[in-house]
Symmetry: C2
Subunit: 510 residues, 2 copies
């Protein structure tokens, strides 16, 4: 972990209006809860738009299911019985620590083999004490369930969902109708989920309140091996780390086509390979650089019991190294069977050849981690001595797209700049700024990731031309105000490159 | 209340994939919780996009604050003490009813004057019994708090927010920084809120889990009367019902300019008038017809104690008549003062002339009610005998924008139609459908609100032309496939009218 980078990033994010917290800050804050400030929310919205676009293009339909669901749902899903962490409590100060993490950090070699039944033994053998006050722990390991409980009506025991997937499965009979009893079909959900972590940490990576995004492909079990969409992506080369290649600390990435990966038996079905490819492409579309992504197969010791095939999309973060961003799981008919059993409703589609319970291929991720990854990967301190930072975001995800500045607050420049800003606002996210020197405003815009800035100056008042400046190259070009809109379009579409614009020159911004 | 229309609408919404519930349906359902199905979610997304666009154009910044907040926040906001409903419980079957509504429905004349302390007296005098089993009520009125409670960590008493506004106010010191200590500034939030209603009803109008959308304008108290944006909208004519005009059952709507309304003292400030106008325009932009909207001022007996000015945007629904959709409130410095007192942090901006605590003008609404209003207003049974329904949605909010159908499932038509559908998917929400006769598919598309349908037929295979059909007029025109994209653009932009297209004719769809 690069804690210096993390510290700088947290300071930068809160100072610039990306992420504030832990919230509520004015009341002291509660770990694991954050606010997306103005720029953070714009960034998160861009990422969620990209997710929507990708799913919709692949003919997945979005749904929005309730966050709060009654007890029987979570009995069926297994979350009430199995979704808990072991906790050690201090006998003196009552501090609580998550036992597996506490021990795993001190003795990494014990991490893999640690089981609930030998936690107390390890505590005794290693002489572990409360990290807060140094006293002994109580001689018991509590199982702390991660579900947040609430009440509906006077006494209806209910829980906040710890993931969106379960709530997505429940309207299954409705899907069967809506999709006219045809398979495969896809649905996805983007929404809040809650986990009562004992000690949330790693900033946005483990939150108590977070946003999940999960796609579910419902498919005939027999069609998995012959999925019609596979052929188009059969030759796509993906950076894979299969289970067998995971020995020691460093994993070798194999660049391999999906066709070859199937032949080698890394994955069991063409449909699964398609979902994995979809997930990979999605993270590229969000702006994560190719060389920072790998696909890692779950080893048999970490695979969930219901998952027939399981790989993670991992991103190599500056702060934390390779980090899970997305899990792709073949959940078979596990969930539908569970809910069928508990609800006593048949969860099947009626095909011409008879009834069938589909299998579910799941692409499970969230939108907080991608936001964090984007900040982590694109934030840089360019010139430490000036305190100058940069956020060189890809064009597709810039929170603010255009800055508009009057050179001075006089001679009609603010009015002219405001007119230009207002005019562009129907198509772009525009920031108007007239405070401090133009050099400081350029710096500020670069820190906020604004890719293009327009300045209204003396010449504008004479000939209606303005300067347009590019964040990354710091090149400027003089253009007619009336041509701004179409030029910006071409720049955002990548149909023109700034450095090739006629008259583009580097100018001193001070 | 038009309960027949409501019944038909609920059946239509669930059958077509707009709204499902109460959820979780397969477990019997819990009142007040619904799922947005595929079409409902597309519709809700469109409405939320319009809200975002409008706020962003007015230079409001979006934020996303936590849903779960600890106890002190809700002590300060007043929700813990005051946010409750009176409940009567049956002594025999333990059924609970909300006392004020139960009595108000039976004796509308008592509704206005009913106070907590005289509920038991009314029950006795009128001989009211449990509506479930007919037994006597217990001789006590419980105050049922509407907040849903949960726990953070082992014992941190917390609550799900019952509105977004309070959570929006809390990062105030961060806003002061972000907006560089300048007033006015605007922020808004769209997100989930929760109220544990005793008996939720009226479908999407009163939910236990719902989506709020609230804009907050922070302004210098002295600037309210001179707000710079007022002049642009001074002459706008709005349909108003001021407090003094509300006698009896029917309220007269006065069409009046904001300038005149200010002069008459209907509103106290120009800034408030601007926010009310903003709210009105927003509901028009969502597609609510002008003649269905009125602005109604709160009478002194219904105005919240902190609200200096208060009007509602009301929409005349087919199911429920005039219904509150949005509240616009001048909350003065009430909330900031409360949180200052409880958090002991100064909540002020530092202007050049000194520190000041801004006032807050609030535009408070949600997105479930607009979705309901749209369905309520645009759903119609066109030909009862055929069972044909229509959803003649305005173009801006159609969930699915284009239908693409092969006339028959043979001779390359499905492949050709799929190619066209795929090609259009990067810019439009497209539905491909090959099931049943073309006439049935047109009907189905009309029910789903799809405004334009493309059909691939024998001619397409020869000359690459297709038919394009308009939902409302049922006119068809033959166009080249390659011209579809630009023609659809012009239709959605309203730069061309279908009936004026060359060769547009009415054709039998069967």
């Amino acid at each position: 972990m690069n804690s210096e980078h993390l510290k700088a990033l947290i300071a930068f994010s809160s100072q610039k209006g990306f992420i504030w917290g832990p919230e509520p800050e004015i009341y002291g804050g509660v770990s694991g809860f954050y606010t997306y400030g103005p720029l953070g929310k714009l960034l998160k919205n861009r990422i969620e738009s990209i997710i929507r676009e990708r799913f919709v293009r692949a003919e997945f339909y979005e749904v929005e299911c309730p966050i709060v669901m009654p007890r029987p749902v979570w009995e069926a899903s297994g979350h009430l019985a199995g979704f808990s962490d072991p906790v050690l409590s201090c006998a003196k100060c009552s501090a609580n620590v998550r036992a597996d993490e506490f021990i795993g950090e001190k003795f990494p070699e014990l991490k893999e083999s640690l089981r609930a039944e030998n936690i107390l033994k390890v505590v005794e053998e290693k002489g572990l004490k409360c990290p807060v006050c140094g006293s002994d722990f109580k001689k018991e390991v509590l199982q702390h369930n991660l579900m947040m409980k609430t009440t509906i009506g006077i006494s209806g025991e209910s829980f906040l969902r710890p993931e969106t997937a379960t709530t997505t499965y429940l309207p299954f009979p409705r899907y069967a109708d809506f999709f006219r009893n045809k398979l495969p079909f896809g649905v996805f959900q983007i929404g809040k989920a809650f986990r009562n972590e004992i000690s949330p940490r790693q900033y946005l990576l483990r939150l108590r309140e977070f946003t999940q995004a999960e796609g579910q492909l419902f498919i005939h079990p027999d069609e998995k091996k012959s999925y019609y969409r596979f052929d188009v992506i059969a030759d796509a080369i993906l950076p894979m780390v299969h289970a067998g290649a995971q020995v020691g600390d460093r994993f070798n990435i194999e660049e391999m086509s999906l066709k070859d990966a199937l032949t080698k038996g890394y994955m069991k079905s063409k449909a699964y390979a398609w979902t994995l490819h979809f997930a990979y492409e999605l993270f590229l579309a969000m702006g994560i650089p190719k060389e920072r992504i790998r696909l890692r197969q779950h080893r048999s010791d970490e695979k969930a019991f219901y998952a027939d095939d399981a790989w993670d999309v991992e991103v190599n973060l500056n702060c934390f190294g390779w980090t899970e961003m997305c899990g792709v799981h073949d959940r078979t008919d596990y969930d539908l069977s569970q809910h069928e059993k508990f609800s006593k409703k048949k969860l099947e589609v009626s095909l011409e050849m008879g009834k069938v319970k589909p299998h579910v291929l799941e692409i499970a991720f969230g939108t907080d981690r991608p936001v964090f990854a984007i900040l982590d990967l694109f934030y840089s301190k360019k010139a430490e001595d000036e305190g100058k930072s940069m956020l060189c975001l890809p064009l597709d995800i810039c929170p603010v797209q255009v800055g508009v500045f009057p050179l001075f607050r006089k001679e009609g420049m603010p009015e002219q700049a405001n007119m230009i800003a207002d005019d562009l606002r129907d198509e772009f996210i525009v920031k108007y700024d007239e405070t401090q020197s133009i050099g400081k405003r350029y710096l500020r815009a670069a820190e906020e990731g604004v890719p293009f800035c327009i300045t209204v100056d003396y010449e504008t008042m004479k000939d209606k031309t303005v300067t347009l400046r590019e964040r990354d190259s710091e090149l400027q070009v003089r253009v007619k105000a009336e041509e701004l809109r179409s030029l910006l379009h071409r720049l955002f579409n990548n149909t023109v490159v700034f450095s090739e614009l006629k008259g583009a020159v580097k100018q001193d911004s001070a």
